[in-house]
């Protein structure tokens, strides 16, 4: 079952590597910061000299925005999906496995969080956590970032958690699990050897999808004024490019392309990872 790496896979790893490189070393690239307004280049199309990706109608250089956005978007996505996925699947899998009161508590908690629109949640968190007593003192970006990541993590936990729970429910009734239990195998072993490998494919499928979802969710939050300030992430760039659609479409489609490449690449990487995990399942 060994999969050969194909051209799309190389592309996927290449793009993700490039994006991570931009995220880590982007600030060393000798171009103006993303916040600089280029008054003489407003509305420049892509391939203008000095502005490879063009300039939007407010004078922001899009290339610079993409580089800076890579850092924020990838950080937000990786941390909130990683953390949310880990906590969520831990809760979901154990809840479905052990059942009983623990399961109802976890399930209810998931429902409580899920039934509040994530926007309301984020707005509430920002209102409480990212406000200074002295109004004239700016809230540091890191505090806003943490608040944002927290609210997105809270959104992710029940989504992945419930999927993990549903999948575990479906699997834990299966003959080989029942058999393992009746043979006196320890719960920890059953979960890690038999349940997790079977639940993971669905989780990974959703988890990698969640990367895109989180980046886009952050865009909607920026639109409403509670995202990363300055529209500095890719999502924020898309949000602020919305009024440029008729006039400077590149301000909208360039960040969308960057985002699409990232989502497609993570999808491929997810597939490759799942291929490896599937081999474990095959050995059962």
């Amino acid at each position: 079952m060994r999969k050969k790496y194909t051209i799309p896979t190389y592309f996927a790893f290449g793009w993700l590597g490039f994006a991570v490189f931009l995220a880590v070393f982007g600030s060393f690239i000798p171009i103006d910061g993303y916040q600089v307004i280029h008054g003489d280049f407003i509305d420049s199309p892509p391939f203008t000299s000095g502005h490879w990706f063009g300039v939007d109608s407010n004078g922001y250089d899009i290339f610079s925005g993409i580089i800076n956005g890579a850092r924020l978007s990838i950080f937000i996505a990786v941390v909130s999906v990683g953390l949310g996925g880990f906590i969520g699947s831990l809760l979901g899998v154990t809840a479905a496995y052990y059942r009983g009161r623990y399961d109802s508590v976890v399930n209810t908690a998931f429902n409580v969080v899920l039934s509040v629109p994530n926007l309301v949640l984020a707005l509430a968190l920002v209102a409480v956590l990212a406000t200074n007593v002295d109004i004239n003192e700016a809230v540091p970006t890191w505090r806003r970032l943490i608040t944002l990541v927290m609210s997105l993590t809270i959104v992710i936990i029940p989504i992945l958690g419930r999927i993990a729970r549903a999948a575990t429910l479906a699997w834990s009734g299966r003959e080989f699990i029942v058999a393992a239990r009746s043979m006196g195998m320890r719960d920890r072993h059953i979960i890690s050897r038999h349940i997790v490998p079977n639940v993971l494919p669905a989780l990974i499928a959703v988890g990698f999808l969640a990367v895109g979802v989180v980046i886009i969710a952050e865009a909607s939050l920026s639109l409403l004024g509670v995202g990363i300030p300055d529209g500095a992430s890719w999502g924020g760039m898309i949000a602020r490019g919305r009024n440029d659609l008729e006039y400077n479409p590149h301000a909208l489609y360039i960040p969308i392309i960057a985002l699409a490449f990232t989502v497609i690449s993570t999808n491929h990487v997810g597939d490759v990872l799942r291929g490896k995990l599937d081999r474990r399942e095959g050995r059962l």
Binding site: N107, V116, G173, L223, G235
Partner: protein
């Protein structure tokens, strides 16, 4: 046995609603400024005291919640406060809620009816070109925020082709076609992202199911591929799909703010956002409670459906 399952389910439902509403009422208590001060920015201290009493904020967190709950169950969802008087939240919800519910239902129907065939097909053709094309197209679509899709639709379908109106909502009573014309673009913008997510879920589960022994056996009995796919493989593979669909309910009812704003559909999402930005926290609390109730009810329905679709989960539940 069955009865106890429903009692449990109902208890869970109530606990969820209580949890959400109590959380919201705590939020009102935790505000850095007194709600009376926010609602009456130019009022006198006496007026504010009166309002504090009227809302029940002088009774402590539990007392306040009890008062709110008592009124909520009798259909008094509180008021929106203006400088000169009040407006009942229920009146606002009466116009906004049907819009949001219809928007949500149509979006789910559209998304599922596209995602199910696509998911089954790409699982059947896993690893082949069709699978890859579907998968990559969907991922590209899913990386475009719904507001961007909405704006592109407006520009092409509304402005260039002039096929559909770009603004406003028409109720069903204004004629089915009038109603549909105003719903097509918002529904499409909202469903694109869901199609990608649903297709992925179904595909992943289908692939796993198709490896099962009973599928191999069914196929070896000489049943047609179509029959095996739909009769034997689809039903047990759709649990995660329906779980995920149920999860999106709350978000679609209350979170479609930007799309609602672009098309001037103005459903619950807009009302919630208006309540947040207008600092109408009492109205917000009631609105979130309503969203929560609908979310819980839809989840219950989906659970019932899922129980019939995949009896394994139902049995597990009943035995638990």
């Amino acid at each position: 046995m069955r009865g106890s399952f429903w009692v449990k389910r109902l208890a869970q439902l109530l606990i969820t609603v209580f949890g959400v509403t109590f959380g919201c009422s705590l939020l009102v208590q935790l505000l850095p400024v007194s709600p009376a001060e926010i609602l009456l920015p130019v009022g006198s201290p006496e007026e504010r005291d009166l309002l504090t009493k009227e809302i029940g904020l002088d009774r402590g967190p539990i007392g306040y919640y009890a008062k709110w709950l008592g009124e909520f169950v009798t259909g008094d969802f509180g008021d929106i406060y203006y400088s000169g008087g009040t407006e009942e939240v229920s009146g606002r919800l009466a116009t906004a809620l049907p819009r949001s519910l219809l928007l949500m239902i149509y979006t789910q129907i559209v998304a599922l009816s596209i995602a199910i065939p696509l998911g089954v097909w790409s699982a059947y053709r896993v690893g082949r070109r069709a699978d890859k094309v579907i998968s990559n197209t969907l991922f590209t679509m899913s990386s475009i925020p719904n507001f961007a899709i909405a704006l592109v639709l407006v520009l092409i379908v509304g402005v260039r082709l002039q096929w559909l109106p770009t603004l406003d909502y028409q109720p069903f009573s204004a004629g089915p076609w009038e109603h549909a014309k105003h719903m097509i673009m918002p529904v499409l913008s909202l469903s694109v992202g869901l199609v990608a997510s649903y297709t992925r879920l179904l595909r992943a589960d289908m692939i796993a199911t198709l490896r099962e022994d009973y599928i191999t056996m069914a196929a070896s009995k000489g049943l047609s591929d179509r029959r095996v796919l739909w009769r034997h493989a689809f039903r047990p593979s759709s649990v995660t799909l329906f779980t995920s669909a149920a999860l999106n309910m709350g978000g679609l009812i209350g979170g479609a703010i930007v799309v609602e704003t672009i098309f001037a559909t103005y459903g619950v999402g807009f009302e919630v956002f208006a309540a947040i930005s207008g600092r109408q926290y009492i109205a917000l609390q009631s609105m979130v409670a309503i969203i929560c109730i609908f979310y819980v009810l839809f989840n219950l329905t989906i659970d019932v459906i899922a129980g019939y679709v995949d009896p394994r989960t139902r049995d597990r539940r009943i035995n638990a």
